[in-house]
Every structure is written in structure tokens, then in C-alpha cells.
């Protein structure tokens, strides 16, 4: 079905089901309970999960398949955001033209940057992409302020022309033919509450499309060719094949994925800041991909969710909340436990994240996907044949060097 093998179809359906029920799955704790702090099922974070999932899926097409490690992909994310906000400012608050423009613009930039950068390989390629991205960031922050609004970030204002839309009182909101992106329906079941947001489902649908395309690319002859680039480019050249067009195509595709993610970020929240293009943002997508499992289909999405969860949930836990959790303990013990945990939460969330990176890389070279398959193996000892579609790639990669 859909031109997919059975195994891939299973994965796709699993992803679809999970994204469909994410508002429920991500809110496992009743509202108001002490553990509600760990709930991630609010619209803004769920949107970020899928948007950065798209970003990482795209990055994986380049890095996971060809092995070219780009350190400048955030530039395309930023370009996508700026294009989308300009579309909101000039044309219409409808998200379709904005997203189309952001994909096209990111694709164009990727074509130029990729054409130049792909003349080199290995770390020289990484530094070239890094240089381009840092240049975009520095210029967007300062000299290009008329276009990017610099430090403050590009926002929509009342005085924007928006030629397709009529006059509106108050700041207009982004919408899909009338369905407002921020529109949310809340369902109460017992003590639980689940938010179903239009914006989230819009992003989720696009992520499924993006995921489907990525599966098709992975399984296509084109994907095969890209893998060949990774395993031995020299041999490929000797056989008379020019690998450059293939890698450039992969670079442009992954740039367009980044542009789509950037456009969606702006569509959910019409603001584009230069920070999105900084090298740390490029590093973040590298981390997401490797953490989840580079070269696997589902890994990058997992990695993106993992990092965004840390950023948004762990950074918000403060001492007051800790004291609430451990209030059942005797005072002395309570204070001791809080003091021990204190460096790792709130302002220390970077520390926890750093430790997690190290642990995952040291013990799970294939990323979270390998971790999951190891757990799976423990439970399914007998069923050797059916398992590890995903972990194959992870293991191959671990053994690659």
C-alpha cells in the first residue's frame, strides 16, 4: 500500500496513530496533580515536537544517507521563518502561501550554498556550511535589520498591507482558509484534560507527509545511490558515476524540509528571530538526529521530541515544585533531597541535557532507536526474524567505522 513495504507501512501507521493521539498520550497525568508538571500535551510544545521532527527528518535525509554532516542547517530554518512572516505581512494570513514561499526560498538558498559547499567533503564541508550559516545569522542580527528586524525579530503589525485580506480590528491570526491555527478544543475526561489544537494537527499532517516522502526516498534507487556515497564515494566515482548531483539533490531536499519547518514555526507563532540561525541551533538538529539514531527513519523524530521536552519541561521545574513533591518526607530529608536534585533542574537543565547526551552516546551508539530495540529484544527473544527493521540501520552505522 502507498508503494511501501509491509515493515515501512507498519512504522508509518504507528507514527500516524501516535501523532493522532499525541494530545492524549502526552498528558498522562491528571490536571492539577503533582506530576502534571511532566505533561507535555499543550499545543505550543506539541507543535514544536512535530515541527522539529520535520526539521530532523529532513536533516537525516542528508546526514543519515550521505554522511555529509552539515553544521549550518539552521540557516534554512531561519530563512523559512522570515519568508513566511513576510508573506503574512504582505500578502495574507493564510498559511498556504507562506509555507510555499518558505519551502521555495529555503530550497533556493540550499541550492546555492549546497552547490558551493559540496565541492568539499568531510569536515571541510561541515565548516563551509557552518560559515554560511554564521554569516546569515550575524548579518540578520545587525546589518540586515531592515529585512529581519534584528534582535527583536520580525513580527506582524497592524499597519502591514496584507493585500489579500480585508481590514481587521486587532492583530490578525494565522489561518488555513478560515480555520485559525491557534483554535483549540479542550476535552475533559474525568480529571484529565486534553487539548486538540488546529495548529498541531495541521503540523502533524504535514509531518506525516514529510515522513512518508522520507520513507520513499530511503527505499528508492535514489536513496540507494546516496547510501553508496556514504559507504564509498571513491569507488562510486571510479565506476563513472558523478555523485555530486545526487548529494546536491539530497542537500536541497533537506534544506526544503528545514524551510518547511521554519515556515510552520512562523505559521504557529508569527515571529522570526535571528537566534533561529545561530550555530547552536544547527548543532541542535545534529544532536536530535544522532541522539535519536542517524540513518533510521523514526530516530530523528524521537531525538527532536527528547530535546524539546527537556528544554521546555525541565527548565520550568523550580525548588518550590520540588518541595511540593517531597513534602511527604521529614523536613531534614526533604531539604536534603531537594538540595541534591536542585543543580539538575530549572536553571541547571543544560547540565542534565549534557549528561544525557554523554550517556546516550557512550552506551547507545545507535541512539534511542537502538535503545528501544535492545529493550524490545529482551521481551521478544524468540521472534528473531521480525525485529529490528530500524535497529539494522543503527547497528550498521555503529559498525561503520
Amino acid at each position: 500500500m502507498l508503494g511501501l513495504e509491509r515493515r515501512d507501512l507498519t512504522i508509518l501507521i504507528a507514527v500516524a496513530v501516535i501523532t493522532l493521539f499525541a494530545p492524549i498520550i502526552l498528558n498522562p497525568f491528571p490536571t492539577g496533580s503533582a506530576l502534571a508538571q511532566f505533561n507535555a500535551g499543550y499545543p505550543d510544545l506539541m507543535q514544536r515536537f512535530v515541527i522539529f521532527g520535520i526539521f530532523a527528518i529532513g536533516f537525516n535525509i542528508l546526514f543519515g544517507l550521505t554522511g555529509y554532516l552539515s553544521f549550518g542547517h539552521a540557516a534554512f530554518l531561519g530563512i523559512g521563518s522570515y519568508s513566511a512572516v513576510w508573506m503574512f505581512k504582505l500578502l495574507s494570513m493564510n498559511v498556504i502561501p507562506a509555507i510555499l514561499l518558505s519551502i521555495v526560498m529555503a530550497g533556493l538558498f540550499a541550492l546555492v550554498i549546497g552547490f558551493v559547499s559540496l565541492r568539499r567533503s568531510g569536515i571541510y564541508f561541515s565548516i563551509l556550511t557552518l560559515a554560511f550559516a554564521q554569516m546569515s545569522y550575524n548579518l540578520a542580527y545587525s546589518v540586515l535589520t531592515p529585512v529581519t528586524n534584528g534582535e527583536t525579530g520580525l513580527q506582524i503589525t497592524l499597519s502591514d498591507p496584507r493585500i489579500l485580506d480585508g481590514e481587521s480590528s486587532g492583530l490578525p491570526v494565522t489561518s488555513l482558509f478560515g480555520a485559525e491555527m491557534r483554535d483549540t478544543t479542550t476535552l475533559f475526561v474525568g480529571p484529565w484534560s486534553w487539548d486538540f489544537s488546529v495548529g498541531y494537527y495541521f503540523c502533524a499532517a504535514l509531518m506525516l507527509v514529510a515522513f512518508y516522502i522520507s520513507v520513499r526516498i530511503f527505499r528508492s534507487p535514489f536513496g540507494m545511490m546516496l547510501r553508496a556515497v556514504k559507504s564509498n564515494q571513491q569507488r562510486m566515482n571510479y565506476t563513472g558515476l558523478n555523485s555530486r548531483p545526487y548529494t546536491l539533490a539530497a542537500f536541497v531536499i533537506s534544506g526544503m524540509y528545514a524551510g518547511l519547518a521554519g515556515g510552520l514555526l512562523a505559521a504557529m507563532d508569527p515571529l522570526a528571530g535571528a537566534d533561529r540561525m545561530q550555530w547552536t541551533a544547527s548543532g541542535e538538529v545534529v544532536l536530535m538526529t544522532i541522539l535519536g539514531g542517524a540513518g533510521t527513519l523514526i530516530g530523528p523524530v524521537l531525538g527532536a521530541g527528547f530535546i524539546k521536552y527537556f528544554e521546555n519541561i525541565f527548565s520550568k521545574i523550580n525548588d518550590g515544585i520540588l518541595h511540593q513533591w517531597f513534602a511527604f518526607m521529614p523536613d531534614g530529608l526533604e531539604n536534603f533531597v531537594v538540595a541534591v536534585i536542585h543543580p539538575f533542574i530549572g536553571k541547571g537543565w543544560h547540565l542534565t541535557l549534557g549528561i544525557m547526551f554523554m550517556l546516550v552516546v557512550i552506551f547507545l551508539p545507535g541512539g534511542l532507536v537502538e535503545g528501544a530495540s535492545r529493550v524490545g529484544r529482551v521481551f521478544r527473544r524468540r521472534d528473531r526474524k521480525a525485529d529490528h527493521v530500524e535497529s539494522d540501520a543503527a547497528r550498521q552505522r555503529a559498525a561503520a567505522e
Binding site: 499543550y42 510544545l45 546589518v143 483549540t184 476535552l187 474525568g190 484534560s193 537543565w349
Partner: protein, 448 residues
């Protein structure tokens, strides 16, 4: 089964209660539950404090957080009450806000507009915050202010000094207590004239982004008005680290004053390096060479150490002021934490009190009622003398403190000393002043 609304959380608690009783999906309609975003329904109200906890401004953020905790303690009737006693409006009585206990959630802005918005968004969507406050840069303030306007909650800005926050980017739901670049310039100019005369040539080194530009513009305009000339305006990249290649040409340029439009780490480095180059021991045009840092902060003064001796600048507030409000605040802050508060802490503390007071006077948490209560509001006893929250741009007008680096500080808390307190009239400007033009507040937005 479902409810259509643009905001969620406020109704959740009541919804949850009913839902629990029936253990079945419950029908709720938005209009019957709430007229505005995150309307508090239980016995408590949640405020969101969004401060930098990682990155270069983490210490400043930590100090803001201390002030917020203190403010919440005082609002709930704990501690010694701090400025509640000296505040001219005696509406607050230590029983929370409108009888509801004040609770708060915290988040990390990372000093990035993106991360700050994500953090504020989660406070609004997940934790049901009805007011967002804090922050340590203008970029973040403008971004979060925009978000609060769209979401329909009140934004009480923390430390933000750019003219734009209440100028071209002003919003109806946003309020700024902190002063701005124009006020710094207006307060500094007369002091500079007294110190260095009217015949000077100034060389500007400016952080190359919006805040730096507005400050450069303001200072240049104010000093030129009193007869100074501007020799050169040079933009430096943010976080340049080594400023030597920008400082070295200064002496040879014919300028005799160096104005450093930098903040944070940039200010510490550029000032330290300028002093290292020996600029202050040199002479130019027959006068002693001078350095000016228009925006001061105690934390950065600490970072610059010896280099700040005798360098003039301006502050929103200083703990060494003599009025009753300042004394009460310094006492309760100092006793709780063991050191005096910074100006960032002060502005955050005051903003929280002002919000609580506005809600109490309005008798309503509705953002539009709060906006109405704050607009044109005159108050006193919060550390800066009589203050006006101007209705046209939601900017506070109050005295500005001009300071300079102390020659012989007795401890690390006395690194700066007060030179002069510039009265309000001198720093007031028209709300449509060209440096602030191009923005409009728009309508207040209650969300829902």
C-alpha cells in the same frame, strides 16, 4: 463533549472538578466559564516569571527571580511586607490578590526571543498564568510582549532599556516600569556637562543591534544639544570579546570622550580593555580623556572591577537611595538573601506589586480592567519618588539615578555611588516623540 475557545487553562480547573464528579466527558461552553484568558477560578492565581536562567544574563535572571519570590511572599502576607507599607496605594493587604493566594511558575528565556516565547507560551497554555513578567533584554521583552498581546494576558516588562519597547513596538497589554535610552540620555547630559564641559568630541562604540542603536541615537542627540560634537559612531559585533581593534583608533581620532553603548559582557570587556589601553591616562584636545557608560548595572560593574572607577552612567534605581520605599525593600531583600538587590530585581518586584495593586483596585483580573487601572496611574513609595504610568505608551515616568564608579568602595556592594537624582520633568518626552514614533498600542486584548 467539547468546547471551542481560543484559550484553555482557566476553565480547566472548574471543568476538571465537574468532570471528576461525573467521571464522564462534560459539556462546557466557553462563554459561561470565562470572559478572558486564564481567568482564575480556584482559590489561587498563577503568575508567570520568565527570566534568563541560562546564558550570559543568568545571574541577572537569578536576581529577578529572587525579587519575584519576595514579592509573592509579601503579597501573600509573608515576611515583613516590604514596600507594601510604603506604597501610596494601600489597596494590597497581604491576602493575595482579590483574596486569591498568589502562586507562580518560572521559565527560562535563554535571552533568545524564540525560547522566551516558547517558555511564556507554556506558562499561558499549560500553567494558566494570567500575567507574565521578567526578562533581561529588549529583544525578549518585545517578543514576549507581542505574544501576551495575542494571547490576552498582561505583560509587565522586566529589564528592557530600548526605546522601542514602549515606542514603535508598544502594545496595549504590555507595561514597562524600567527607564529607557532616551531617559538615560536626558538625565546624563546635564551631568556630563557639569563634569566635562560643553566643548567635547564624543566617539561612540555601539553594540550592533536595535538596543545599541536607540541608545546611540539618544545619547548623541542629547549631547549634541548641549554643544558636544560626535566624532564617530562605530558599530561593534555582539559578543565581540576582544574590542582592541575598535578601541585602538579612538585616541587618534580627535575625540576626547568615549561613549560605550554596550551592555552585559560586551560592556565589561570593552570597558576593561579601554582602561587597559590607558585611555583614561591620556589627554586629547588639551583635556583629560573620559569614558562614559550610559547604562549601568551593578552586576556588570562587579564584572568590570577596578575599571569602573569614576565612570559616569545612569540607572533606573539604586539600593543606596534614601527614600522609605527603597529602605523597606532593601531591608526585606537583604535580610532574606544576604546582599542588596540589583535594579533588575527592583523593577521586577515593583512590577509585580503594581500588577497586583491594579487588579485589586479594578476588582477584576480581566486584562482590560487591569490596563484601565494602570493607565495614567500615579503612585509613590516604590523607590523612585512620584511616578506616572502614562496612558499613551504604558511607560513609567519617574526620577532617573545618575551614578559613577566609586573611587574607594568599602565592599562589593558599593561599587557605584549616586551622583544625582534627575527629576522626572527633565526626562519626560512627548509620547509621539520621533524616537518613539511609528507604534500604536492597539486595543487591549482579554483573549477568549
Amino acid at each position: 463533549m467539547t468546547r471551542q475557545t481560543f484559550s484553555r487553562r482557566g476553565v480547566l480547573k472548574s471543568g476538571a472538578a465537574t468532570g471528576a464528579g461525573l467521571a464522564l466527558p462534560t459539556i462546557f461552553t466557553a462563554s459561561s466559564a470565562a470572559a478572558f484568558t486564564n481567568a482564575p477560578t480556584g482559590s489561587s492565581v498563577t503568575l508567570g516569571f520568565n527570566v534568563p536562567q541560562t546564558g550570559a544574563y543568568a545571574d541577572e535572571g537569578a536576581d529577578e527571580l529572587r525579587a519575584f519570590e519576595l514579592a509573592v511572599e509579601h503579597l501573600n502576607g509573608g515576611g515583613d511586607g516590604g514596600m507594601l507599607q510604603t506604597f501610596s496605594s494601600q489597596a494590597l493587604d497581604g491576602t493575595g490578590i482579590l483574596g486569591k493566594k498568589v502562586e507562580f511558575v518560572t521559565g527560562d528565556t535563554q535571552t533568545k526571543s524564540d525560547a522566551a516565547r516558547a517558555s511564556a507560551q507554556s506558562m499561558i497554555q499549560k500553567d494558566g498564568a494570567i500575567m507574565i513578567s521578567g526578562g533581561s533584554s529588549s529583544g525578549v521583552a518585545v517578543a514576549v510582549q507581542g505574544l501576551c498581546q495575542e494571547a490576552g494576558v498582561i505583560f509587565m516588562a522586566g529589564l528592557t532599556h530600548s526605546n522601542d519597547t514602549t515606542g514603535k513596538d508598544r502594545k496595549a497589554n504590555g507595561f514597562r516600569h524600567f527607564f529607557n535610552a532616551y531617559m538615560s540620555a536626558a538625565a546624563l547630559a546635564p551631568v556630563l556637562q557639569n563634569l566635562y564641559g560643553t566643548d567635547r568630541r564624543a566617539y561612540h562604540l555601539t553594540a550592533d543591534y536595535t538596543w545599541g542603536w536607540t541608545q546611540e541615537e539618544s545619547i548623541a542627540a542629547a549631547t549634541e544639544a548641549m554643544g558636544w560634537q560626535t566624532a564617530e559612531k562605530v558599530r561593534t559585533p555582539l559578543g565581540a570579546g576582544d574590542f582592541s581593534s575598535y578601541i585602538a583608533p579612538v585616541l587618534n581620532s580627535g575625540a576626547d570622550v568615549l561613549v560605550l553603548n554596550h551592555y552585559g559582557g560586551d560592556m565589561v570587556n570593552s570597558l576593561t580593555q579601554a582602561v587597559q589601553f590607558g585611555l583614561r591616562e591620556r589627554q586629547a584636545n588639551g583635556k583629560d580623556f573620559q569614558i562614559v557608560v550610559p547604562l549601568y548595572s551593578e552586576l556588570m560593574a562587579r564584572g568590570a572591577g577596578q575599571a569602573i572607577k569614576g565612570i559616569p552612567g545612569s540607572q533606573n534605581w539604586d539600593w543606596k537611595l534614601e527614600d522609605a520605599g527603597t529602605k523597606a525593600f532593601v531591608k526585606s531583600f537583604g535580610e532574606k538573601y544576604g546582599f542588596p538587590p540589583s535594579q533588575a530585581a527592583h523593577t521586577c518586584y515593583v512590577q509585580t506589586l503594581l500588577y497586583a495593586d491594579a487588579v485589586t483596585r479594578a476588582g477584576d483580573f480581566n486584562p482590560c480592567a487591569v490596563v484601565e487601572a494602570l493607565e495614567g496611574y500615579e503612585f509613590d513609595g516604590l523607590g523612585n519618588g512620584p511616578t506616572l504610568y502614562r496612558a499613551e505608551d504604558h511607560q513609567c515616568f519617574k526620577d532617573v539615578v545618575v551614578v559613577k564608579g566609586a573611587e574607594n568602595p568599602q565592599d562589593e556592594f558599593h561599587l557605584v555611588e549616586i551622583v544625582e537624582v534627575t527629576p522626572t520633568e527633565q526626562v519626560t518626552y512627548a509620547h509621539d516623540h520621533p524616537m518613539f514614533a511609528g507604534g500604536s498600542l492597539g486595543e487591549c486584548n482579554p483573549g477568549a
